[in-house]
């Protein structure tokens, strides 16, 4: 039995195609006009040439690029190490905060105090306290490398955020899921590992990756401790030339690093949505 589309279907699909062409055209036009308006507004400003010369100078961009890029290698190592530590520590804190056993009460209390404090403290202050305070104590076996202390500060601050995100995910899993797992005879920790956490982490993937992107950016702050990262290199360059373009170069490199993670988040979320899109039930 062969199916021939009716003239009705052909007409309807043609109309849909026309409508979609029209919306593409409208989107293109509106983008063009808004972009043109912004460009005209900015370039016609009286100080435009001065600003563009000190922030977007091609000559300085080319000259500062190699040193800023070499500084970025430090940021990259900080990001990767800190991200891994943050995910592990954040998960442990979230598990501690959602535990119910009375024996674990002190741990629960400590986890709560920890998140309360480190979520509230500005990262800059944590960096200064850890970066200058710990070496200042003069205890010989404590690490004194700026790089390591910078990573510790980032991990301390971001684990508190990530722990709260993961905890929200754990609490968003329906209680009946836990009951069903326990009814099958799974222990509390088996339930947590095989039933609750997989669902919880899936629920919070977008905000979790959001925090990681934010952490990547903030890795630039360790320059306040004197670590020679991309931002520090940019500052050195601008101090020598009285031109800020090197900062813009560093900024562009940071954006280039975070975009892949953002796109990955989008892709992951979309794939999840698609896989779970139910069909059939009204």
């Amino acid at each position: 039995m062969t199916y021939q589309p009716s003239s009705l279907r052909i007409a309807r699909e043609a109309a849909k195609r026309r409508a979609s062409q029209r919306s593409t055209l409208i989107a293109a036009l509106s983008t063009f006009f808004i972009a043109a308006a912004v460009i005209i507004l900015v370039t016609s400003a009286s100080g435009f040439h001065k600003v563009s010369d000190s922030f977007f100078n091609w000559h300085h961009a080319r000259l500062s690029f190699p040193s800023v890029l070499s500084g970025l290698w430090l940021n990259l190592r900080v990001m990767v190490i800190a991200e891994i530590c943050v995910l592990i520590l954040g998960l442990l804190i979230a598990l501690a905060r959602t535990s119910i056993s009375p024996v674990l009460y002190p741990i629960r209390l400590a986890a709560t105090i920890y998140t309360d404090i480190f979520r509230g403290l500005p990262l800059l202050l944590v960096l200064l306290l850890v970066g200058f305070g710990i070496p200042g104590l003069g205890i010989s076996w404590l690490p004194s490398s700026t790089l390591l202390l910078g990573i510790v500060s980032l991990v301390l601050t971001y684990s508190a955020y990530v722990a709260e995100v993961i905890r929200a995910g754990i609490e968003a899993v329906h209680p009946a899921q836990r009951m069903a797992a326990r009814a099958l005879g799974l222990t509390a920790s088996q339930t947590q590992r095989t039933v609750i956490l997989p669902q919880a982490l899936r629920k919070v993937t977008p905000p979790l990756l959001n925090d990681l992107v934010s952490l990547q950016k903030d890795s630039g702050l360790i320059s306040v401790l004197g670590a020679i990262d991309a931002i520090r290199e940019a500052r050195i360059y601008s101090a020598l030339t009285f031109n800020f373009t090197s900062y813009v170069v560093a900024g562009a490199l940071f954006v280039a690093l975070t975009i892949p993670l953002t796109r990955f988040t989008d892709w992951l979320t979309r794939r999840q949505d698609k896989a779970r899109n139910q069909q059939g039930q009204f």
Binding site: Y3, R9, A11, A15, K16, A19, Q281, F282
Partner: protein
């Protein structure tokens, strides 16, 4: 407008999800104050058909007419059409953050622009008529399944839709609760509401249906007078379906 113009007409409706053809060549007319009941195994296309009628799914081919107006024509404003159709779902889908009264009045107030006091008076009248007025200020999660589903039906009813779609509204309920929901639908039939009902309750189908349609693999396998279809099915598909229903004690 002639009184014999169908409220709903389906003409050769076809729908597929990718390569999966779920509805094929579905045609029927539903006259005012009549009830069409869809039966068929799970996956036969009943729910998809319901979703196509209130434009939650876009059909591939054919036409759906509401009061003679082609609602599947390009450029039709789906919101305006849906506000003329009341829909009730298998899993109630009441808004759990709103009270019963607010659930019922939401569409009148937001979509039809009716004053809150007027909408609430109408809702209270409905709740009273169906013995639910004590629950007006309760949140849905505190109600039994049967009460929730009755509230969901009233929510669909309050805007006086031209057409009511009831999709397996008793499938999630136990027999006692099923009875209270079916009693309510029986009253709606007596009041002359035009409805399309998908159900697995054969006795109920026989009672309320003006036309019974048996769907099999997305096509109409048999249709007609409910008493005849349920007692003397001619197609082998319906015979097998009814035999399975009988074995399950549902007939």
């Amino acid at each position: 407008m002639s009184t014999h113009q169908p409220v709903l007409s389906l003409r050769n409706v076809r729908k597929s999800f990718g390569d999966d053809l779920v509805l094929q060549d579905i045609s029927f007319d539903l006259l005012p104050h009549q009830v069409t009941v869809l039966i068929g195994a799970s996956g036969s296309g009943k729910s998809t058909l319901m979703r196509c009628i209130n434009l939650l799914e876009e059909i591939d081919d054919g036409q759906i007419l509401l009061d003679g107006l082609d609602i599947t024509a390009p450029g039709t404003a789906a919101d305006g059409i849906r506000s003329q159709i009341g829909s009730v779902f298998q899993s109630f889908n009441l808004f759990s953050h709103l009270t019963v009264l607010t659930n019922i009045t939401l569409a009148s107030r937001k979509v039809h622009g009716i004053d809150r006091a007027v909408a609430e008076a109408q809702a209270m009248e409905l709740l009273e008529r169906f013995g639910l007025s004590a629950k007006a200020h309760t949140y849905p999660d505190l109600l039994s399944g049967g009460q929730q589903q009755r509230v969901a039906i009233l929510r669909a009813l309050i805007t006086k839709p031209k057409l009511l779609l009831l999709d397996e509204v008793t499938s999630a309920l136990d027999p006692v609760l099923i009875a209270e929901v079916l009693a309510l639908i029986g009253e709606l039939k007596a009041e002359g509401h035009t409805m399309v009902i998908a159900t697995h309750e054969m006795g109920f189908a026989r009672k309320v249906a003006d036309e019974l349609i048996f769907l099999e693999h997305g096509s109409v396998a048999e249709r007609g007078d409910p008493a005849r279809l349920l007692t003397e099915p001619t197609s082998s598909g319906l015979q097998a379906f009814l035999a399975a229903m009988r074995t399950a004690g549902r007939l």
